[in-house]
């Protein structure tokens, strides 16, 4: 009898847990709700295979080209290939009206889902209405929209900055037994939310330590610009005890090397060039990235939505990152590949990361 009551108790607890789990969204280890997320979206399932398009805007930099290659590499994997009846990629340039027309054309052509990097955060309300009327799933990523009507995909930019600052602070603590000295912060392209959030994330950690002095220079997310402003900063304000960079870390580190400075703890992006220098010189800190493979995550999200799974309206994928002392040659960095290669080729909690061969086998063309 007692056993039975106990069992019933366990069963009811299990049921309770089950109900609580039902509040979660689909694959919560992968599709994580953003801290600011307030709602979940679930559609009636649609039978596959699906016709999906990726409508890119601007196509003229390494990040965008890698994003296109990542999307194609995802679609080329056998387990995804069978989910897709058709997969198209187009780049329309920096013209919001042209991007809207492209999305409209895919809606008209009967596509099931469309992922895109928005040219403009506010221009897509009308086409969202048309997509919803037609039952087409839209998934914006990277440059997301000011809307709560559709599922959006990104990484937490505040956290991205914060991770880097925490790692540099920890390295200083370990080296000197205290957190003090001068930090160089190389920020991004001014005037947008990504730069602002990364900066705020860094400062939220650094401001906890009154003995840290921060010197900020503007690096425009560009390795060349980063190298120049770092060289200037070393000349006028150096030496530094730590360095933080949003992008273009390879340029920043080269400036240190060229000025014969000691290589100090660094929180930077995960570009191949930066990771090669960091690994070869055993520089403490962390590298973390806004990974171009977000394009593949957007496709995964679109499929999950079409299959009728419940998803957070704003999804933040775990930021791909690696402490500098754990970098492995051939896995985290590739001395035989270009310095501009994006080493963070995927989100391991969601799907196996792409190998360089998988990505480099894809063209950046429309298809």
């Amino acid at each position: 009898m007692l056993a039975r009551i106990l069992l019933a108790g366990i069963a009811s607890t299990a049921l309770f847990v089950g109900v609580a789990r039902a509040e979660d969204n689909y694959r919560p280890e992968c599709f994580k709700p953003a801290p600011k997320n307030t709602k979940f979206i679930q559609q009636t399932p649609k039978p596959g295979p699906y016709r999906i398009a990726f409508v890119n805007g601007y196509a003229g930099n390494d990040w965008r080209i890698t994003a296109i290659q990542s999307a194609k590499a995802w679609a080329a994997r056998p387990e995804n290939k069978k989910l897709l009846k058709e997969f198209k990629v187009v780049s329309v340039g920096n013209d919001s009206a042209a991007q809207i027309a492209a999305i409209d054309n895919f809606i008209a052509a009967g596509f099931d889902a469309i992922t895109f990097i928005a040219v403009n955060p506010t221009a897509f309300d009308p086409v969202i209405r048309r997509a919803q009327k037609a039952g087409v799933v839209l998934v914006p990523f990277d440059n997301v929209l000011d809307t709560d009507k559709i599922v959006q995909v990104n990484e937490d930019q505040f956290e991205l900055g914060n991770i880097k600052a925490r790692a540099v602070v920890a390295a200083l603590q370990k080296e000197n037994g205290k957190v003090a000295g001068k930090i160089l912060e190389v920020s991004g392209l001014p005037g947008n939310s990504v730069d602002r959030d990364n900066h705020n994330g860094m400062r939220a950690e650094l401001d906890k330590y009154p003995d840290l002095k921060v010197v900020q220079v503007v690096g425009n997310w560009d390795a060349g610009v980063g190298q120049k402003v770092t060289a200037d900063a070393i000349a006028t304000e150096g030496p530094f005890d730590g360095v933080l960079a949003q992008e273009g870390t390879v340029g920043v580190l080269n400036a240190f090397i060229n000025a014969h400075q000691k290589l100090v703890p660094v929180g930077g992006d995960a570009g191949n060039g930066a990771r090669i220098i960091i690994a070869q010189n055993h520089i403490p800190g962390v590298t973390a990235a806004q990974a171009p493979a977000l394009s593949a995550m957007a496709l995964m999200t679109a499929v999950a939505e079409l299959q009728g799974h419940k998803l957070p309206q704003t999804i933040y994928f775990d930021i791909p990152q690696k402490p500098n002392d754990q970098l492995v040659e051939g896995k985290d960095y590739f001395p035989n590949l270009p310095k501009s290669f994006y080493t963070t080729t995927g989100f391991p909690q969601c799907a196996p990361v792409f190998t360089p061969q998988e990505l480099l086998g894809q063209t950046p063309d429309n298809s």
Partner: protein, 317 residues
């Protein structure tokens, strides 16, 4: 008939390209596809008419794109609220276009500045103003108004109805009124027009003002399509509007062409882009093919001039 040869060629080319686009499109001919096509086309068509007026009086307007951007940004502040407020806002946006056009015209007519220099400078000012007003894209446009302007009326895209109406509204006076014809006269031979008593200054000012009006209509329509104000849209309009006008048989040396031609030219350009889109051609080759279409069209329209015994024979047409 010979007078309209360039235009007829352009219309024929457009018909061919449109059939190609429709045959490539998985959905084929449908109200939705034609509406998307019209919404894309009208934006450049209005900018091309703006460019046409300035080119007609032997000018060139590098500020068309910036005026489109500035008026689009203004629309994102002014065009919402009650129907009366919306209408007043739209009128204010058009008035802003007139002011921009007259500023260009004043610099050219009274200060004697070369059009290309005057509009390059004014374009930087208009574009800068737009950026000051909206550093990041935003603003609101009424949803219902946007839908009304960008969908269809009984299967006919609203954009086409609007475009036909405004084109007709300027084409008739251009050929039938003294001021309209004097614009052609000024563009053909300014000195001769002046000596025969044509009001050269008035004709030129009017042309630049009408340029401003049509650029502002383009800015308004961008607001209808995107429901937002965006200062960064200028580059998509300036050079493409010139290309569209030339494609539609408007002569860069002034005095030849029609608003209808500019519209047809704009739709040719947009149809080429749209057809590329489903053709599977690599994106990097697309500008090449667009340029090729443009070059072929210019060669064909230039053939008429080459075969003429004298330039006067061309004007006789």
């Amino acid at each position: 008939m010979r007078k309209y040869r360039a235009l007829l060629l352009a219309v024929f080319a457009l018909a061919l390209l449109f059939s190609l686009f429709i045959s490539l499109h998985p959905r084929g001919f449908s109200v939705y596809v034609v509406t998307i096509w019209s919404n894309q086309g009208i934006l450049l068509a209005l900018a091309a008419i703006a460019q046409f007026f300035v080119i007609l009086v032997r000018g060139i307007d590098l500020s068309v794109g910036p005026i489109v951007a500035l008026t689009n940004v203004a629309a994102s502040y002014l065009v919402h609220g009650t129907p009366a407020a919306t209408a007043l806002g739209a009128l204010a946006v058009i008035a802003l276009g007139v002011v921009c056009g007259l500023a260009n015209g004043t610099a050219v007519v009274f200060a004697g500045v070369q059009p290309i220099v005057a509009t390059l400078a004014s374009g930087a000012i208009f574009g800068g103003l737009a950026l000051l007003l909206r550093p990041v894209p935003g603003g609101t446009i009424d949803d219902a108004l946007s839908d009304m302007m960008t969908y269809d009326i009984h299967g006919i895209p609203t954009a086409l109805v609007i475009l036909i109406a405004v084109t007709a509204a300027v084409t008739w006076p251009l050929r039938r009124t003294r001021l309209g014809l004097s614009m052609y006269a000024v563009g053909s031979a300014e000195a001769a027009a002046f000596l025969t008593g044509t009001r050269v200054a008035a004709a030129k000012l009017l042309a630049y003002a009408l340029g401003g009006v049509f650029a502002s209509l383009a800015g308004l329509y961008v607001a209808m399509v995107t429901e937002t104000g965006d200062a960064g849209i200028a580059p998509a309009y300036t050079l493409n509007s010139i290309a569209a006008a030339v494609l539609g048989g408007v002569s860069l040396s002034g005095g030849i062409g029609s608003p209808v031609g500019a519209v047809v030219g704009a739709f040719i350009l947009k149809t080429v882009s749209s057809a590329m889109f489903f053709s599977g051609l690599p994106p990097l080759a697309q500008p090449f093919f667009e340029g090729l279409v443009l070059a072929i069209a210019i060669v064909i329209s230039a053939l008429g001039t080459v075969r003429a015994r004298s330039r006067l024979a061309v004007y006789e047409r």
